[in-house]
Amino acid sequence: MMAFGGNIKQVIVEHDASSNAYVQEVCQRLPQNGLIITEHPEEKTERGGDFDPGKEILHLLEYKGEFLKPCPGTKAYICCGYQILNIGTNCPLDCSYCILQSYFNQPHLRVFVNIRKELEHVLNYIDANPDRVFRIGTGEFTDSLALDPIMRWTDFLLPSFSQRKNVILELKTKTGAVNGLVSAPYRDRIVVSWSLNSPYIAAKEEKGAISIRKRLQKAQQLQSEGFVLGFHFDPLILHSGWKAEYLRTIELLDRYIDPKGIIWISLGSLRFMPQLKQIIQKRHPKTEILNGEFIRGLDGKMRYFRPIRTELYHFIRENLEKWYSSLGLYLCMESDVVWHESMGWSPETSSGLRSYLDRRVKLVFG
């Protein structure tokens, strides 16, 4: 139940958040043994050296910006038009490839406690645009469920989104923290997604995450409870024996999951801002993820050389389609030419990909 809550050693409450009832509820849910609660007047803390992300510190604060934001994406590649509900930043997991590592000028597990109040504005905005399909997720800047046993996001997010017809809420995770989902009565318009990788990469590079088998067993449990599932093969990483390793994951998918209940599966290959490389090398000196042939992409990020990416995508796509032909496969941040070479078709533009995924929403949820 308290998988990641058990690791929290300190809670920092920003001054403006201290009177928030949500903060009191959260603090009561944490194990009290040795827990230090600090009312911190301003957010300047830079803790324990250059690369310490402070993953044992829960930092509760009010977020002053917009809670619903378009995924940053990139103009140079085809993007899916996803919307991010910004519930917090940083993550108790410690994946070697994680882009959040470059945000360490703001360390700690930062969670925004004014979300319950501000959610109303988000919902008003969605209601004001009834003809638009909102695909919204909370798993871009943090894991959607890792801290759910403490934050109980599912208590108020599920009822808010489940009753609206022009939106889906995707909760993306690498954990098994699904109790909040299972105990809630809401299924409509909720997508529960797991990030997948090869079992080798999961074991070696996704510290704190559960194994691929356990992820799929949890997904199976949720599918049997009536939830729609999504999967994200992202980041695909070249490693010794990668074909056999990724096939193992696809075999596990076949063993545990009914493909008819999947709304989409995305494929994305490892990419990173150049400055992240040194951080990864320092924080994960034994990692092999940087060994591939990376070139600077059109968006300035490092990514695998084009024919390598094409081969990766083509292999995964071919084998997933052997399993089931209508999985809503799509590429995350790729070019039209890579779409054609690896998927055999292309949405051509970001708008085309948005329409494709919106159609998947309508197909699955009506």
């Binding site: 070139i295 600077r296 059109l298 050389f305 024919p307 070019s335």
Partner: protein, 301 residues
Amino acid sequence: MSFGFDLDPLIQSIQRIGLINPPVLIEKKEGGLMIITGYKRILAHQEMALDKIGCRIMASDDLTPLECLHINLYDNLTVRKLNPVEKGMVLSRLHAWVAQDEILFQYMPLLGLPSHKQTLVLYLKIEPNLDDAIKGALAGGRLSMQSLKTLMDLDPVSTTAVCSLITNINFNINQQAQLVDDIIDISHIERKSIPDILVEDPLKRMISDPHMNNPQKAKAILNHLRCKRLPTVKKAEQIFKKKVSSLQIPKGVQITAPPNFEASRLTLTISFNNGVQLKDKIRYLNELKGLDDLNFPWKMK
């Protein structure tokens, strides 16, 4: 607080117009004098075999060590820019007397450095961790701080090996960055130490080849390391280059691939004097043998 300096301009100045500002010394409690500022001026006098120099001498009770440091620092800053080694020396000495936050927010901007803890840590390592040859390269601008920053994370033997290579071959700043990046990656991928890689052939041969000058050596070394680090990319570049050069392309016409073959289109550039010449070139290209097979390298037969 001086490192890597050239005494000649100062000697010439003293010879021409004499000493303008006298050095400042302090009487040590245990006897003798210590230079607070003016070390180079005293050295210059020694060099010129002058046995006297006018100095200002302070009593030991007059100044605290931090005040001595301030005199030295501000005396230097008013007349010149400190090199990275000297900045490291200043910060090291301040570190003994001043709180870290004060160093970060008062002294680092004074030295033209950002108020980052990481930067401070890097500069503090320079004086105790680097040998004089590397310090000399850094002070003389032959070794970039950016490369040094990455190299300082390696073991000292590797740091020295790469720094020596950089200074011996005289890689420019961009070349240094590529060299450091590639050699660290290759060491990690091949699980070999950097000094071991540097003594392997053909790298060893390139480094000591008497028939190549330094720019040629730098180019050959970088190309060799890039071929090892990005074999598929380099192979694609070679295939494309070979194909384009096999075509009988007329003068003033260029076919180029996008950087790293990432964008989806190849580019044809035609320069011409007039419409007739353009038509000629287009007609020629239209008839050109082998053009039908031109494609991205991994798609070519």
